[in-house]
């Protein structure tokens, strides 16, 4: 295998694994920038993965080629719906954010596997999805020498979409009035309140956007990696996305970069064999690597990076 093919394989596999993490970590960024800690990303991913799988299995024939993309958005919509629980609990009822997020993480897999058993005659796993968000070769661009091979051959469209979304998220958070206000309620809700900003509304929006993006992340996971839904479809990716968000200092572009790095870590079991010098290592190490790297990154960076000042603090408005 020559260099461009090796790089193509590494890049395309990395992107495939990074895409769910990018979407979800962007979701986490919105929630935490608004001041709501979101450890429930895992649960939101589970709901996104489940709903998009069911949708695509049910409507693939009717929708044809558009089915994967429509069901991708359906995953986001259900993730958004599911996140309402977190928003109501934390913003309206001032519950502890960690507890509420944990509830989401316990509720989602139980509920989704239960529903899967109902829909598919007691089986805990859906049938395989025939049309996923697979890889594509971009016509035209792939003809560029070397670069075309590495970046645009058999590449994950949805991952490139995720990167574009990350840039859009950055623009929204740092260049628009909406973004400034959303960040202000996560930094000092009392100050935002005195300026007439509705703290509760912006926090709701933060969590709902987070649920939508988390749902998208879960949908991508089901439709481009596992190609079905079961209890093991989402196995820690929500927490990796959370780690990516922290590693990326609560900044959409930073989170995206960190998510790509974790994507690389996750793709190691597959591409490890292609990388010269690593092929001799026992594959168990590659399988453990993503989780190990997540822990190491968290230990090294959690203490140092400074998040939004009022992240995790409930705001009580006096009347």
């Amino acid at each position: 295998m020559n260099l461009s093919t090796t790089l193509m394989t590494i890049l395309s596999t990395t992107l495939v694994y990074a895409a769910p993490l990018i979407f979800t970590s962007l979701g986490g960024t919105f929630s935490e920038r608004s001041g709501i800690v979101n450890v429930g990303l895992e649960g939101m991913m589970v709901v996104g993965a489940f709903s998009s799988s069911i949708f695509t299995l049910s409507f693939a024939n009717a929708l044809g080629d558009a089915a994967p993309w429509v069901s991708f958005l359906v995953g986001g919509a259900f993730g958004c719906l599911f996140s309402v629980l977190h928003a109501v609990a934390t913003v309206s009822f001032r519950a502890d954010h960690i507890i509420s997020g944990t509830v989401l993480n316990m509720l989602a897999p139980a509920l989704c596997v239960f529903l899967t058993r109902i829909f598919y005659d007691g089986k805990g796993q859906t049938p395989e999805i025939s049309q996923g968000l697979g890889t594509v070769t971009v016509p035209g661009l792939s003809k560029i020498p070397f670069i075309g091979k590495v970046f645009f051959t058999q590449t994950s469209m949805v991952a490139w979409a995720a990167i574009v979304v990350a840039i859009v998220c950055w623009y929204v958070l740092y260049r628009t009035g909406f973004g400034l206000r959303l960040r202000s309620v996560g930094e000092n809700p009392a100050a935002a309140d005195t300026l007439g900003i509705n703290v509760y509304r912006y926090r709701y929006l933060g969590v709902l956007i987070s649920g939508f993006l988390g749902g998208l992340g879960g949908a991508v996971m089901a439709q481009s990696i596992t190609l079905s839904f079961s209890i093991s479809t989402i196995s820690g990716q929500g927490f990796m996305a959370l780690a990516a968000m922290i590693f990326g200092k609560w900044n959409p572009l930073g989170a995206m970069g960190a998510a790509v790095f974790f994507g690389l870590a996750q793709s190691l079991p597959i591409i490890g064999a292609y990388i010269p010098g690593l092929s001799g290592i026992n594959s168990v190490w590659f399988q453990v690597a993503p989780y190990l790297i997540t822990i190491i990154v968290l230990v090294l960076f959690l203490g140092k990076s400074v998040g939004p000042a009022a992240d995790g603090e409930n705001y009580i408005k006096s009347k």
Binding site: G177, A192, I197
Partner: protein, 512 residues
């Protein structure tokens, strides 16, 4: 008479059954600076909260420019040209000054994008006009308190406010910054803006205000023209009785040494904060430690009370050594401690008054019966101290956190004095406390002295040190740079010593 811009008529505000404001009326004219004077908890901030839309009135009317208005939120207040500068600045440290100013009223270009350049231009113009020296690109966390306040003023100007409300604007400012603020007040008034400022500092009122509304216990006591009224008269109206400026010192035996500190060295974060310090406090004596904040006073106290490790040197209390001993053994040696920070060190805010008052004796009989707390005794003890120390609270069962600053401090003072200490250490015992409570706390400390206790007083307030101390030592960079007799010194001389100027003291002269 100039135009009336604000009129508040018969305003009443209830929190549950408690009337924070009771039938208050006031008016504000164009270009006027009106002071709102009252003790902590008198209801000043509540009243202004209603004028700025943060709180809703229970009953009464607010008229702006002669028309009745209903204010439901800060947006409404802004709409009527009211800008509020809060006591605890409402700024976001992680944002730039520019972002803080425009937040909530961002100028938008091309549909979604914030027009930062346009906003900056507008702010620069306002900044030049009112001589508000601010750096729009700095992060708020990096700028001085004085500049933060100017940013708050700019926030109101940017929103085209004509009526400015300042809640305790000078609480955190240095004397120079206060002077600058007073100039800004004048500049604003000259431009036809109207100002209400809340305060309990009389000097500032005399200096800046045109008129003054005095509020006590939620009611208006009087509205006076500043010209022709004395500070004493204002203080009397605020507190409701005459205040005394001196304490009565009895002649007591001052022979016995209670606290004996020798060659003390204390390190914090590997910096030597107390250097070779020696100090004695005798029975019936108040020793005042003067000095600018951060010159080792906190570390000295922490070392004596056992909160901080001692590097070298000795600390003797009543003739026994107490270096690096557990805090409990030190308190049991008869050390009472009124800490500088009552909210995080002195009290446990969510606990009740009675529980806080028993923090030093909860493990002993009769508060504790074989490991079980005796609440009957604890509550009784609480009620007694509340009465003895004039703590204003409806019950001993409510949480300390809901009391005003002055009453919280009285709780600490009550607990420490009730433990009948041999040595009482008081660190800034009247910080952030209103004048009525200050007088009371001073009386209590002096009474302890008169009954023969040894008292070590650390304070940044020179007036307090001069009023109470029998002896004053001045600390600078961890050392005692001089000792003086309060009867033979002035604030000026003290100020020079605090800045580090060594002064020949009598004891040193005698040694030479």
């Amino acid at each position: 008479m100039t135009e009336t811009v604000v009129e508040m008529r018969h305003i009443t505000k209830k929190f549950g059954e408690f009337k924070a404001n009771d039938d208050i009326s006031l008016s504000l004219h164009q270009g006027e600076i009106l002071a709102l004077l009252g003790e902590n908890g008198a209801g000043k901030s509540t009243l202004m909260g209603m004028l700025s839309g943060l709180l809703e009135t229970t009953s009464g009317e607010i008229l702006i420019n002669g028309r009745e208005v209903k204010m439901k939120n800060p947006r409404d207040a802004k709409h009527y040209g009211i800008g509020m500068v809060h006591q605890h600045f409402m700024l976001i440290p992680a944002f730039t000054v520019l972002e803080n100013i425009i937040l909530g009223d961002e100028p938008i270009k091309g549909g979604v994008r914030i027009d930062y350049a346009g906003a900056e231009k507008k702010i620069q113009e306002l900044s030049d006009r009112y001589q508000l020296d601010i750096d729009v690109h700095a992060k708020v966390r990096d700028i001085t308190v004085g500049m933060q306040q100017r940013v708050e003023i700019m926030k109101a100007l940017y929103r085209e406010a004509n009526i400015f409300i300042f809640d305790e604007p000078t609480a955190a400012l240095t004397p120079q910054e206060i002077e600058q603020l007073m100039k800004i007040f004048r500049a604003l008034a000259d431009e036809g803006k109207s100002i209400i400022f809340i305060t309990h500092k009389l000097k500032e009122i005399k200096e800046a205000a045109d008129r003054c509304v005095v509020i006590r216990s939620g009611r208006v006591i009087d509205t006076v023209q500043i010209e022709g009224v004395s500070e004493e008269r204002l203080a009397e109206m605020m507190v409701g009785r005459k205040l005394r400026n001196t304490v009565e010192k009895k002649v007591v035996d001052q022979k016995q040494v209670v606290l004996d500190v020798q060659q003390l060295n204390v390190e914090k974060n590997s910096r030597l904060m107390v250097k070779n310090l020696s100090l004695q406090v005798h029975t019936g004596e108040i020793v005042g430690v003067a000095g600018v904040d951060g010159n080792g006073q906190s570390e000295l106290i922490d070392a004596i009370t056992g909160m901080q490790k001692i590097k070298s040197g000795s600390v003797e209390i009543m003739g026994k050594h107490y270096e690096n001993k557990p805090v409990r053994s030190i308190t049991e040696a008869g050390v009472g401690y009124i800490p500088e920070d009552r909210q995080t060190v002195g009290l446990i805010l969510p606990l009740s008054l009675a529980e806080n008052l028993s923090l030093k004796n909860y493990y002993q009989k009769p508060a504790n019966k074989s490991g079980v707390l005796n609440y009957q005794y604890i509550n009784e003890h609480g009620r007694k101290l509340i009465k003895d120390f004039d703590i204003r609270s409806q019950s001993e069962q409510i949480s300390v956190g809901s009391l005003s600053g002055g009453n919280q401090q009285k709780v600490v003072v009550a607990r420490e004095i009730a433990s009948d200490p041999n040595l009482l250490i008081a660190a800034n015992p009247t910080r952030g406390v209103d004048v009525g409570a200050i007088e009371y706390i001073h009386e209590m400390i002096n009474q302890e002295r008169n009954s023969g206790k040894a008292i070590l007083l650390v304070s940044f307030e020179l007036d307090e040190i001069l009023k109470l101390s029998d002896r004053i030592v001045v600390m600078h960079e961890g050392e005692i740079v001089g000792e003086i007799d309060p009867k033979e010194t002035s604030s000026q001389e003290l100020g020079l010593m605090m800045a580090g100027k060594k002064v020949q003291t009598k004891t040193q002269e005698a040694a030479n």
